[in-house]
Symmetry: C2
Amino acid sequence: MKYGYFDDERREYVITNPQTPWPWINYLGNEDFFSLVSNSAGGYAFYKDAKFRRLTRYRYNNVPMDNGGRYFYINDGGTVWSPGWKPCKTELDKYECRHGMSYTQITGAKNGIEAETLFFIPLKTWAEVQKVKLTNTTSGVKKIKLFSFMEWCLWNAEDDQNNLQRNLSTGEVEVKGSTIYHKTEYKERRNHYAFYHVNTAIDGYDTDRESFVGLYNEFSEPKAVIEGRATNSEAHGWSPVASHYIEVELQPGESKDFIFVLGYIENKEEDKWEAKNVINKQPAEAVIERFNTVEKVEAALNELRLYWDKLLGKIVLQSGDDKLNRMVNIWNQYQCMVTFNMSRSASFFEVGIGRGMGFRDSNQDLIGFVHQVPERARQRIIDIASTQFPDGGCYHQYQPLTKRGNDAIGGGFNDDPMWLILGVVSYIKETGDFSILDEMVPFDNDMSIAQTLYDHLTISFNHVVNNLGPNGLPLIGRADWNDCLNLNCFSSDPNESFQTTENNTEGSKAESVMIAGLFVVYGQEYVELSKRIGRADEAQRAQKEVNKMIEAVKTKGWDGEWFLRAYDFYGNKVGSDENEEGKIFIESQGWCTMAGIGKEEGLCEKALDSVKERLDCDYGIVLNNPAFTKYVIEYGEISTYPAGYKENAGIFCHNNPWIMIGETVIGRGEKAWEYYKKICPAYLEDISDLHKTEPYVYAQMIAGKDAYKPGEAKNSWLTGTAAWNFYAVTQYILGIQPDYDGLKIEPCIPAEWTEFTVKRQFRGAEYNIRIVNSAGVNKGIASLEVDGVKQKGNTVPLFEAGTHEVLVTMG
Amino acid sequence: MKYGYFDDERREYVITNPQTPWPWINYLGNEDFFSLVSNSAGGYAFYKDAKFRRLTRYRYNNVPMDNGGRYFYINDGGTVWSPGWKPCKTELDKYECRHGMSYTQITGAKNGIEAETLFFIPLKTWAEVQKVKLTNTTSGVKKIKLFSFMEWCLWNAEDDQNNLQRNLSTGEVEVKGSTIYHKTEYKERRNHYAFYHVNTAIDGYDTDRESFVGLYNEFSEPKAVIEGRATNSEAHGWSPVASHYIEVELQPGESKDFIFVLGYIENKEEDKWEAKNVINKQPAEAVIERFNTVEKVEAALNELRLYWDKLLGKIVLQSGDDKLNRMVNIWNQYQCMVTFNMSRSASFFEVGIGRGMGFRDSNQDLIGFVHQVPERARQRIIDIASTQFPDGGCYHQYQPLTKRGNDAIGGGFNDDPMWLILGVVSYIKETGDFSILDEMVPFDNDMSIAQTLYDHLTISFNHVVNNLGPNGLPLIGRADWNDCLNLNCFSSDPNESFQTTENNTEGSKAESVMIAGLFVVYGQEYVELSKRIGRADEAQRAQKEVNKMIEAVKTKGWDGEWFLRAYDFYGNKVGSDENEEGKIFIESQGWCTMAGIGKEEGLCEKALDSVKERLDCDYGIVLNNPAFTKYVIEYGEISTYPAGYKENAGIFCHNNPWIMIGETVIGRGEKAWEYYKKICPAYLEDISDLHKTEPYVYAQMIAGKDAYKPGEAKNSWLTGTAAWNFYAVTQYILGIQPDYDGLKIEPCIPAEWTEFTVKRQFRGAEYNIRIVNSAGVNKGIASLEVDGVKQKGNTVPLFEAGTHEVLVTMG
């Protein structure tokens, strides 16, 4: 069953039934100021850091689900409703939610009043702008009452929910004209406040939650709205909120627009006050001034549209498949931007207070984003590398507000260093900007021991080489990419976190075949990069290490029909046919086939056939098989999940593209494509009832074949799945690969595809690439012409500017 | 306005209007297993530790307030209601909530059905028993549908609310007969599960929240209840709940009882399973068996009543004042038991995940509890002292489940050590058990460096002596009793906690006059104790230190009209007439007058007159005056609160009894009594609308005269206020003081009181003490007779057993 449809023309997903199987959300904001908004206007706003600068309060996992947001209430002669259906849940005559590129428009209608609400964060602005257009569609005059509503969060979202004995006494507000200011703690250590404004005279306001909602009322029936009047309450402690009350008269057919602005202001210490205890409102008034007419708001929205036109103009696919087109051209790229901005901090599954940016995550997120805004990718790489330790190990996470490594989780995840090579290489291949390698980058944020970024890569490479186990394979440390495979943890105390508890690596034999494959892939990249910058000796040294690793995998990492996953603390095999449960794991099959280890001997093909046979199911490829049915203390968290969920035999979508790419390595275009479609949300729209999460973005996990409900997705939006699938489909299936010398073209597609075109902007020029497969092959380039000129090899050479026609003939 | 009344006969507060100004709650459970229950059955249950073993889910500061609990729904021909009004909020024909001693009974009636629901935790039982009696009060047959409902918490309450990306995949249940078992994570590191049972065959059940409630429904309108049928759902991840569905037919006048049991079970590792993935239910069935009939439940309730009869039989006051009687005899003692059990962990203001037991708090809580169950007080003292450091400093908090000091907050609160002397001395005076002094007690839980408890006291005493500042007054460290007076903190970063941020004590001159007074009071007690156990030399040495401190306070701690509060980091006066704000503070007036420092010279009287003039107001004594209106970085958190709230000039009730006691030191009975009545909840019942929190227990704070709404209370239940007011009223106003040699009688009362009696059980004997004040004095004993025999002095000597008549004549 579907709950809406794609409007590709407008780059929107249009939800037509508000009762989606889970709140379907969108993200507003592109830098600094962000909001989450659901299809019923639930969600919250924050400045930079969802933990430390939460602007509005939100309650996760609530009853009802998704309760709280920026709500508008209309009291029309006693009938109370909201344009987004929730929170009132009054049956509407019309409902439509359009999630677009960084904006959301929700329209509801009831009894002859149509309310169109638009939400977006203008570029370079620390404010969410909300435009409410009320239209009288009847032939009589309508007098209605409009209430806005949001609840302030007392800045630190964690403290806000837990430290009530303090927080219920601290809330402070000011009201001036039509603007409600939230200034809790401004008088002490904070130099920032928030405000909520409307561009019209108001007939009342409320700033105290109990006065507006009532102590025992639901959000669906706020006392003030039901009673049809504001109380002009001033919050002193308890729960400060912001609500405007406006009486609206509409002639037949008349429309009126109201512009609301939810903003965030920082003042310098010396500019904090305009009088004793009266905050300096000038900067807020300046923001308000920028958006106080419909024309200004529409101009700002248009700027945002143009911004996205530009971003999404860099790669444009025309295939015969609408679903594929909309994923590649719109939604997958959009999700990559969101993961770049959010890492794993704030979604409707990530509560925004748990953790910061991941070292591993953020490097991977780059590969789906670097073509969009390379300058931001560059800064991100420097930020990430700055949290590395001098020995090449890395803080596993860092806080976006402070950019410091997170001590609580620390380091010791031995895959982390290799991802930095991925990030840097992807950046240089996209931009050609080798200068990044010369940037002086600190260790653990200590500039006094800074080295160049290239040195960081060397140290990253060496970190693996310096941490090999008895089989010559990389020691796993706390965990590799699979945070839940905790081979040195041995936790028996349920109050311990598997990720942060003290590990016993002393004398451990725990090795990771996945890191081995990863090392071969990015070790090879390191070799190539070193050659490119004239470090031939280093390239040679590194190549030897890579070769040794390939050998180690072949001799110690092969189980007969597939690659082993690891060796445990005691040196026992993990992911072997010898095991009773967890005989085969996806990660090492992905990385070792991506690395092409043993391709000639048929190992890759065998491994991928085993994946098909043992891991594949209707909804994607599960992580391991058989699922664990009991806790294995020497494996850790992976064995704690119910069978078929998350890392225990769930379809952990992040790793599925590794198999897709592996399939392209051995040229099996049909298989790669089949795997792509299985987890790709646009193809799952018809089973939204089962899939549950948004049909326009990837989820981290889909329940696997061993689960109670196979096919049910969880943890949508913030997942490395976005970047990896974009990378896999554009670079390995469609085969458009940015490379040092140009765009390498190497598609691997189903034989039945006859043709597709990709418009690609690359280093200042634009390429219209037409790929023709009249031969009906999966892979292989017979010829490549640029502007009518035949080329040697399969790389489109670099041009400084202009538009160039590329004709690729497969065969 | 009142929302109910006291039923002193049954020791209950009876709420007759469900819409109390804030949820009015009760505590169930006396050891190990606890529940919080509001007047509409909201709240939650936990085993030992409200953070690590939360059994049922609860959402704090929700909309509506107090949403979630153990709910019963009745669907009577389409009319859906709950006996506790909430969550349905259907208007009831009758509503009554009786909060009693460790039980709560809520009765609702609608359309001829009366539902009486009883909640309690039987003694020595890890289960909450709920008895539902349904009565048909009509003359026709009634067929109704009864649903139970609660939501499981996934054990760790903090993780439960934050780690959704994991938790939404882990939930697991089993259903067998009429019992729903919650076994999330049981298959891995947990050896415990919970269950919810009803003692009748059921017509259906639900264990998946979405199936029962609906994704977008409120708790007030669960889908299953509205539709009048259960779905027999089995939770796999998402949110496991427990709901029984029972079809009930009642003849005219007929009643039926249903007994529900919410229990917690721990199994040994080897006894975890009865079959693969099937939990061992035998221990649960044994608990169920204990409460499967009305007779058994009533017997258990009766046991609980007898338990409280015994506890509350130890001190029984008969004064002419019902309010005073009910506070002394029932509610203040009851609250003392609750604070002893909970410390500051779990109330409707303390979310149960923030912190453990306080070193300072728990020692003070003892003084209101030690007479009730001295054995438990003894154990608590040992537990607390075990977290002391070898230098006498103390972990400021420890975790009740592990009994280990809390590293996050650490130590350095320089008042902490002195409270241990208070705790120990109070215990010995009540019990005569000097043997506790010989117990070997570890430091920082390290038994290898244990010393006797007496040694701990010596080290505590010396910790002050060894940490004196330039004026010979005690260095304050991170803070003294006032956690918000952070004289060495200098925090400018709003993301820092004032309590845990790194302090700058190096070179600090910050001294506390309050600790000086505290040191004189408990230093004197240490001297006396040392003498009692034959340590005359130590007593002499200690006395000299105490004398020096008295001198230091007189010369450096006196401001002219009152005692200074402190010296700051730079050596500047805090709480002096020289200051612009915060000229006078309550704490040092309390402790220095309790210590009688400068009593002869009139300092005590002057100080207390200043308190009356500057700190007193209609609702109690504020903490400081004038309130701070801006942040003072060298004072810290105290200056962050809005004026009149919390530590910034709020009526911080904990310290009001210090002034009451101070007044008794100088014999001003009227003043002591006036201060007592002002903050005593029973006297505030008529202004419940303003006071907001329960009229049967103390709140931590009442908004002071500088506040927006003076008289509004917050943070009820878990506060040292309970113990201190009980201590002040019983020992210093009524004047019945346990002492080493017997009961010392030293009342200080209003002159108009003519007589009162106190029945006191003490060291195995019972004393009926009649105090006659025909002379109309405030203080002073003219004569004291025991069993008709005149005594010298004012101490009732010890008897081994029997009942003894004591006649005290004031004059």
